[in-house]
């Protein structure tokens, strides 16, 4: 099922951040939202994944507005991994991942079936978390914790997955680990993934589609090869940068030198 963003305005309360955005999100691909701090990309992501209500316009999934879905039905199609999520101190990884099956349970006495337990085990193995299954989530290291949350999100078995800054607060090795896992989920299961990401070269390397924002507006969108150029870096981030081709992946790579002078 495809996501369509139609004439969407985002913001909190009376204050609009983005207005009248209409743009496609390619199915079965990884889309990265990029832009400087405060450009509205996180607000846009939260609106598209129904966390905050839109100020206008709508997001349609399979021709139907997200806000017309039953919340449990929608949770079988669209998963969310929020930025820096929290859990009760006593919650174990396996319990957390089992919560990912909640949208499939009835409203009363929701307990996991054998099928649910199999899916939970699969999610734990996909994320290399099986050995930590009985540990408390909040007692894990940053990288392990992030994998536990991803395990919960994939146990939800949705076609579409939103990730809000999945690599922030992680060291470079764990950043690679999480992004490789994201790529694996996309390649092996054809999941549509939409994420906000700060590290530009990671965006260019792992995403198929980039959306670059400034002051609530989308200035550039397209493949990394189309979008990743000096003018974009100057317009979006105000930096003067050199671009080279990544010798291993062939994707564009930027080396920032200084803040661009205003012309």
């Amino acid at each position: 099922m495809e996501l369509h963003i139609e004439d969407l305005s985002t913001g909190y309360g009376e204050k609009a951040i983005s207005q009248h955005l209409t743009f496609p999100i390619p199915s079965g691909q990884i889309t990265a939202l990029i832009g400087a701090n405060g450009c509205g990309k996180s607000t846009l992501l939260k609106t598209i994944c129904r966390i905050i209500p839109p100020l206008g316009g709508t997001v349609k999934l399979g021709g139907k507005s997200l806000w017309d879905y039953d919340s449990r039905q929608l949770a079988r199609k669209v998963g969310i991994l929020p930025q820096n999520p929290s859990a009760p101190g006593e919650l174990t990884v396996r319990e957390l991942v089992m919560y990912g099956r909640a949208p499939y349970h009835g409203p009363f006495f929701s307990r996991g079936s054998q099928e649910d337990r199999d899916i939970v085990q699969w999610a734990l193995e996909e994320t290399d978390m099986a050995e930590f299954a009985d540990r408390n989530v909040m007692a894990l290291s940053g990288g392990q914790r992030q994998r536990a949350w991803i395990a919960m999100a994939i146990a939800q078995t949705t076609d579409i997955l939103f990730l809000d800054e999945p690599t922030s607060f992680l060291d470079v090795a764990h950043q690679m680990e999480v992004l490789e896992l994201v790529r694996h989920l996309n390649e092996a299961y054809g999941k549509t993934i939409i994420m906000v990401i700060h590290e530009l070269n990671e965006a260019a390397r792992f995403a198929h589609h980039l959306i670059a924002m400034k002051q609530g507006k989308i200035l550039y969108q397209g493949s990394p090869e189309e979008v990743f150029h000096q003018q974009m870096l100057r317009d979006i981030f105000g930096i003067d940068a050199e671009l080279i081709q990544d010798p291993r992946t062939g994707r564009p790579l930027c080396i920032p030198y200084s803040r661009a002078r205003k012309r």
């Binding site: 129904r50 966390i51 949770a75 859990a87 174990t92 290399d128």
Partner: protein, 345 residues
């Protein structure tokens, strides 16, 4: 992958360990119930007590056991269980393990209404039994709704922090009103108010038990059947929304369920708020975070605590009686300090 320097505080919480500790808890509660039943002003030996329980004994003994003692023991079970469950709800909804029903103005609101009622009523005529509990429930519900309304902002999810802060502010305001009222009460009325505010289970009848039992049992069962909703509420808002929980509606409904539970229990047992603070906290350590285990565990623990505290209050300065609320506070205050010290680390 595991960092060997990382301190692993994660413990293994198997099903077996949970069932064992739950079985032990139930056994302890049943024993405490018996001990509680055995204690009172009139002396009854174990033999006599069993005779009465099995349908024998004299008329006076039957009256003592069933109409005085068993009512009180059952009320201790219900009040303890209800307050502990509502504490677990409040701690989850406010995402604060130091929260309790009193945080939402339940105790303050109930106290104010009870005080107004006693201030206004004519002491020369006997008052109907339902008057005081009803006033307490009404005051508690009104205070909780007012706090919810003030903390809620349109178009946003309710912030637990705003809820806590609004609760503290409004509770302080209600306490000021109570102080104003207290100085206008005559000594006899003051005594009634004071006994209620400190908390006591004495002087209740079967009608009180019959009114409280359905509230605690039915709401408890309903909440237990919806334990996955409560699990999702204990995660961050965004995660709960992603897992299909309609967050604002759920938070409001479970908050109100907690208020009704706490208000009904407080109406019968007085201000024994510590039960709702301590029991969920201990229960989480022993039963884990999953409400399917946590809720029954914390309820039985609450029953055990109130049974034990009420028993201690009756024997410690016998033949006088120490008010239940004082015993609970003496037990609860050190544990509260212990939590504070622990959470600072």
């Amino acid at each position: 992958m595991a960092n060997p320097l990382q301190k692993t505080t994660g413990r293994h919480k198997g099903k077996g360990r949970f069932l064992l500790s739950f079985a032990f808890l139930i056994l302890a509660t049943v024993l405490m119930f018996y001990v509680h039943l055995r204690t009172g002003f009139a002396h009854l030996s174990d033999r006599e007590l069993w005779q009465v329980l099995l349908g024998g004994g004299t008329e006076a003994q039957r009256l003592t056991v069933f109409d005085f003692r068993m009512v009180r023991s059952l009320l201790a079970v219900l009040v303890g269980g209800g307050l502990a469950m509502s504490g677990a709800l409040f701690q989850t909804i406010s995402r604060n393990e130091l929260a309790s029903p009193s945080l939402l103005g339940v105790n303050a609101g109930a106290g104010l209404f009870v005080m107004l009622l006693i201030y206004a009523r004519d002491t020369s005529a006997p008052s109907p039994f339902w008057q005081l509990p009803l006033a307490a429930v009404a005051g508690a519900a009104l205070a909780a709704l007012l706090i919810y309304r003030l903390a809620y902002r349109k178009g946003r999810t309710l912030s637990p922090y705003r809820l806590v802060l609004t609760g503290i502010a409004l509770t302080a305001g209600i306490h000021a009103l109570q102080l104003l009222l207290v100085v206008r009460l005559d000594p006899q009325k003051f005594h009634i108010v004071n006994t209620w505010i400190i908390g006591s289970l004495s002087g209740n009848t079967w009608i009180h038990a019959a009114a409280l039992a359905p509230v605690v049992l039915l709401l408890g069962l309903l909440l237990w059947s919806r334990s996955m909703d409560l699990n999702l509420l204990s995660l961050a808002d965004e995660t709960a929304i992603g897992l299909g929980l309609p967050i604002n509606r759920a938070r409001f409904l479970y908050l109100m369920a907690g208020v009704v539970l706490a208000a009904s229990c407080v109406a019968i047992g007085g201000n024994i708020g510590f039960v709702g603070l301590i029991c969920p906290h201990i229960a989480r350590r022993l039963a884990g975070a999953d409400f399917f285990r946590l809720l029954p565990f914390t309820a039985v623990l609450g029953s055990l605590l109130v049974l034990a505290a009420d028993w201690v209050g009756r024997v410690i300065i016998a033949p006088d009686e120490m008010l239940l609320g004082i015993v609970i506070s003496i037990l609860g205050a050190p544990y509260f300090l212990y939590i504070l010290v622990r959470t600072r680390k």
